[in-house]
Symmetry: C2
Subunit: 275 residues, 2 copies
Amino acid sequence: MTANRLSLNQKTTNSWSLREAVDGCVQSGLNSIGLWREPVHEVGLSAAARMVADAGLRVSSLCRGGFLTTDDPEAARKAIEDNVRAIEEAAELAAACLVLVVGGLPDGSRDLPGARDRVARALDILVPRAADHGVRLALEPMNPIYCADRGVLSTLGQALDLAEQYPAKHVGVVVDTFHVWWDPEVLPQIARAGARIFGFQVCDWITPLPADTLLARGMMGDGHIDFRTLRAAVDAAGYDGDIEVEIFNADIWAADPGGVLETMKNRYAEHVEAR
Amino acid sequence: MTANRLSLNQKTTNSWSLREAVDGCVQSGLNSIGLWREPVHEVGLSAAARMVADAGLRVSSLCRGGFLTTDDPEAARKAIEDNVRAIEEAAELAAACLVLVVGGLPDGSRDLPGARDRVARALDILVPRAADHGVRLALEPMNPIYCADRGVLSTLGQALDLAEQYPAKHVGVVVDTFHVWWDPEVLPQIARAGARIFGFQVCDWITPLPADTLLARGMMGDGHIDFRTLRAAVDAAGYDGDIEVEIFNADIWAADPGGVLETMKNRYAEHVEAR
């Protein structure tokens, strides 16, 4: 891994096309980018893979697979199909991992253990497919604010309990500061994760929380998270991969993406980079 | 404990005075009320205690003490003084417990372990005072959505780790479904809590989350929480006290309080009451 581990997750510069994001990374001296499937589809998978490779960028992650909690058999079948496609895409893009946002409760359901169990059953099917393609699946434990509607894996410990049922080279976790910063167990669980840390994403927890909680993430330094402690723990656990900045925030999305990228670099140096 | 364990937390009928809330409970056949300090202060402590006792109501909790995380020595001294007053009030009101919302990060601080440690140091001072007055302190673990600005105790397990440093008759927890429902460890931690469960509060997690997250709680049945499983766990742990409905929600506060109380009774019977 090179010295520059900072990676731009495309979502942070949401108004940029893939071409613009790739060019932005190159102009800013970044060596890595975190991709999303939708903008990749817009240019086509092979063209996207070439574009990123030609620019000399690593793909720190592909976002995202998952949404595996449905209790409808037909919807479940389609979800598996879509995740298999995501695995194939991650392979062609040579992504360091495929991020899995596992999904929330089905409409009208209050059966949280059932939803969590269906994630495990889906992984039973997907893990061999990922292994076939040499793709690493990164389970994303999500802040409990999203438990009902987005991700029923709520803690790093819970994600690791699930990941550890599969080979360490195929199933791990992505540690996102926004999701895990509050967890009293976060440091020992990061140590436990070790080689199963497939990705590390940073953004801040800001207050008051924006009205749309899906767009509640802040630029590093604007909120309450002690990044350097988390980053040191991830380093100590042996993770030497890229560090992605992934921010969902309406104000940041409305700003000039080039300026956002510069701010991101500065804030990364100030708040995240090892001293 | 009588058969009717349903208690109205005053906050649910926020526009009612203490007199109105007490009368509403009596007219609805409730035997218990959860009080807040501010409306108690409005009528005076002794008058409030008489009003509730004359109506034959139990006081299921007094809300609230806490806010013990400041890193300013003078503010910390004032917080202790205020909590001692809250203890005295809980004693005069014969409240089953004094709920402690421990506080968030001080302004500009990112030192979460430090804030958590200051809560413990404050308890070292407050627990003997509570014991003197025969008052039970109920630590409230809060949904991580509030970790930064309201309560740095984020899980039931973490609250119990702290409570267990003190005698079980003086320091316990309040289990609030809104705060703990997502926790993969919630059932074993409720079992662990046992006699340290000093209170049980119910309200629902609704999506989309209202814009003001401090008013994000829903009426039972309007959201995603499986109350009966949590209630069965609390029962099995040996808790036989009152079950408070505590809802912070602008729409519910704007509705007719008498109607809210009736809805609350019906929803409690439908979603919470043991079958």
